[in-house]
Symmetry: C2
Subunit: 188 residues, 2 copies
Amino acid sequence: MAMTDSDRRVRRTRRTLQEALTSLVLEKSYERITIQDVLDRADVGRSTFYAHFRDKDALLLACFDDVREELQRDFDGAVEADAIFLHAHRHRRVYKALCGRRIGVGGSVAHLHLKRLIAESVRRQHASSGSDLPADAVAEYRASATLGLLMWWVDTDFREPLERIIRIHQRLASSPVQATVTTGPAAG
Amino acid sequence: MAMTDSDRRVRRTRRTLQEALTSLVLEKSYERITIQDVLDRADVGRSTFYAHFRDKDALLLACFDDVREELQRDFDGAVEADAIFLHAHRHRRVYKALCGRRIGVGGSVAHLHLKRLIAESVRRQHASSGSDLPADAVAEYRASATLGLLMWWVDTDFREPLERIIRIHQRLASSPVQATVTTGPAAG
DNA sequence: TGTTTATTGAACATAGTGTTCGACAACAGA
DNA sequence: TCTGTTGTCGAACACTATGTTCAATAAACA
């Protein structure tokens, strides 16, 4: 019940299980991975698994946890949502494993958490702009957009360089696709 | 093997199963619904289910199918992505059941299909605008954004009136949150 | 070193999946 | 209304995965 991180055995088991899941996700869809698969890959006893994690999702979250905390800190500092691209690039492997299309049908636990983080960042930005649009709607719209682009980047194996994807994001986020060329000089 | 719609029994069974799943999704998350649950609710034999659908996802898609075909037609006609809000409003109950947060952790089969439809619409729009941005990235960004807003609308039980959500979408899609006031007159 | 405690491995009950098959009932077409 | 067709029933089956228990063991800690 104690299960503190101070015990080397605990650290080892958790790490092994997390790595097993991470590597499995690169091979087949998260949903089709069974706990048994993880146990086999990790070579860890069944009862040991349940001593640490409630279920598969808990393990997935744990995989994502360290990385997520770091992202949280990055976001608390920065105002720009761009931070997430830097972060994803730094942790390419983890993002590839946990956020790509491989996981689920268009979504995942990690996906959900990422969106929440981005949405908060957007909400902070939007708060100071005094718009009459519903804040939640704006946050949801922009967070979904950014996350969509991020997922695309992940799924295309980070083909575009970091600087380029950030520039793409900035252009998409700040204006219509035609970029700074508007149809008219602020009609209305 | 025939299983034509001309047989009343076939129609009845399929309808019953679809309605069972739809109603169950309103009660608990799609992932936690078992085929057994559907059978119990529908009062349909196990073997009968497999005579019609390969698995749970196939049934879900069938639930969504009629509605999806209609949406496809609407989209083929319209250039605007707004069409989807009209459609969602017309089929509130289905959208609520199949697209809300209730289904999965941030995503679903229906979600994926919707995004695909929206992305195609976006791609058509974007094709004619001659931008230097990667078309896929733009499509993914905008489709995710629109879908995110749509999901928000669904999850808030269509609180905002149809006209309002469409206007919100247009403003979000066509410019920064500050709306039509740009930072400068087309620099470059 | 001795003590604590995480891990093991097997066993178990439970639950869901997907398939089969004979008996039955509902159907379409004449 | 009759007749042949065919969808449905329901029970049985093998199979896979889940989640829990417990005594024995091995590893870590201090």
